[in-house]
Amino acid sequence: MVQNGKLELTFISTLVNNIKKDKMKTIKYKYTKATFLLLLLLSITSCERELSDKAEFANYGTTGDIFIDAPVGLTDQFFVSFDPAGGANTEGFGTDESVTYQGASAIRIDVPAGDDVNGGYIGGIFVDRGVGRNLTGYDALTFWAKGSTTATVGLVGFGTDFIEDKYAVGLENIKLSTDWRKYTIPIPDASKLIQEKGMFIFSAGGIGTFPEMGYTFWMDELKFEKLGNIGQPQPAMASGEDRVETKFLGDQFSMADYSLRQTFNLASGINQTVIAAPSYFSFSSSDIEVARVNESGIVSLVGSGSAKITASIAGVSVAGSLTLNVAGGFPVAPAPTLAASNVISIFSDAYTDVAVNYYNGFWQPYQTTLGGEITIDGQNVLNYTNFNFVGTQLTAPLDISEMTHFSIDILMPEVLATDIDMLIVLKNENATETTLQQQRIGGQTYQWSTQTGDINDTESNATFEGGVWKTIKIPIRPTAETGLDKTGVNLIIIERIKSSNVTELHIDNLYFYKE
């Protein structure tokens, strides 16, 4: 697994997860394999020479217009959809000559219903047809929009080109009126945009709960502008807080995971906050022998100790900071010893894993958990942050009738022993019924329900130590006790109970076995 390629993706998925968090629960943004390969290529070829004295920046076009009465300088396909395999509907994009803000034509988006057979949401990007534009002379992307009804569009922005997404910017949840309104997306720092290809991004799902109701919205006069009346930047990271976290030597992660935002005050007096890619920020580390941040915002932990990450955008200090207390190296999870023939593995370097749809379903609207599969020092683990609950969905239902146990290795960076209280749920969710076995771990202080499937096994009252792997073996109970139909287990859910203080988990060696 190539580490950089994966980490580069983090920002996109963070941006996208943020979108999902707010509105569209059915959306599964997935970027195409081609994109991923390009990312890999970029990562591999990123060992560039230093600029020589003779290097000169090419002079790229400076056109700000994107769509006035027709696309301006965009690629032939005009609109590049998110991956239909991830649920994006490619049918609803077009132009309209009868409804316009001004001039002959406007962009028309028919947002599908949540259960539309062609895909339950619509979204994509507009890409410059040339080598990219110099947008340093502008301070905002603006457009006019109206809806067939009042509705909320999950995301609009620019800087996403499905290649680098280096200067991606997203404005979430714009509210449409049934009359034309102007929308302004401030550029976090225009001096960075010397060659930008990502002219526009949008994503919209239907109204209400599943199956959401579709609607139509129109956009017109889409362009980069020099408004001159945008001011008072207030950039922030980690929600403006001074955050302190314990991490492991060798760990790598993106600052995009720490809520990077830029806020500008618009002429209307409204503070407009956008999600800004890490590359807009200049990060600095108080101790580069402990933590280093590169220009893409990737943090590498290179030594033990403590380092504080601070940042600025265009000379303006960023509110908030991240202090990293780096202990020793990330411990290797205990190596499983069972013969492969006795094991059905979900996630382990020791065995061949069964196929999964995901290790994090980003279930909306209640899930807060971020993260998923990561690699630390060559070790593949699942890392969940901001944890409340998370699910792994198997591609094909699994027959575990022959299995006696479910095994899981858990490591928490910091542990307050009395605060551990979790559930592990093995679920068979099919068209006719849902059955499950629920196993409590560590919980002693909270009330226990008597729901079918609940097991409060003393064996699982595990004692955890910070930064130490703990293997938990959960007996698979007879169906008569739990109700779980063992012939088609397809979901494994880990859940934090109530106010239990578990916020970050590392997980490895997730498998069923028979004794």
């Binding site: 408004l227 009346n229 001011g231 005050n265 002429a267 007096g269």
Partner: protein, 285 residues
Amino acid sequence: MDKNNKNSMRITTTLLKTLCVLVLLIAFSCNPDETQTVAEFKNLVLSDEFDTDDFIDSDIWTFDIGNGTNGWGNNEEQFYTKRTENVSVQNGTLIIKAIKEDYSGSDYTSSKILTKGLKEQAYGRFEARIQLPTGQGMWPAFWLLGANCGDGTADTEVWPNCGEIDIMEYRGQEPTVVHGSVHGPGYAAGNAITKTYALENDRFDTGFHVFGIEWTPEYINYYVDDVLYNQITRQQVEEKGTWVFDQPFYIIINLAVGGNFIGAPNEETVFPQTMLIDYVRVYNK
């Protein structure tokens, strides 16, 4: 023009005059097609350039201290002090700073300077170059009040009969808009004669702008930078009430927090906020 005051006005240097003409020329040159004449009064009779650090000229300025009656009549939330925390001169600029702090029963402190009893004049051109603060609840003003304002006894008149000329008022939550008004008998408070001016591609809280009036017995012209945006005539005023702008007025510059005109600060308002005054100048014909 009040003769007594005229004699006490500061004598200006030729250099300064030249500079002013230059500034005007530069200002005009931005809009070569505009034929309007913004300023006709060119005889500088008072100027404070705030050129000496830590010095506020007591021959020109005095202070209002406290939280006034009913928040200076507007339910304003600040307590005015003359502490250097709230008012100071640094790097050629007078700084009025609104601070969020518990102070004598108020939640905010700020400052209000005025030329009352020191520099008072009828008619003329009054202008100041100011960078305004930002955010919900910030209410800076550059204004004139009739020198005869009082409680109605002796030779005084109660407000609004003594007259008020607001050269610039601004709401921190509307960073591109300023207001110019007159208040008098028949046209006060909510019924004041007023006009707003909005910048198109700029804002008042990110750079300095010149705010001024030219006041004659017949009209008051309002301008921002090189744009004359309103003229209030004696005839207009007399359609609503009485023209009370023939007696000397004094200058007030203050930064209020909250109050009826703008509402209270909210959680997005950043403190402290500063109002920066580069200069104050008064001319006559």
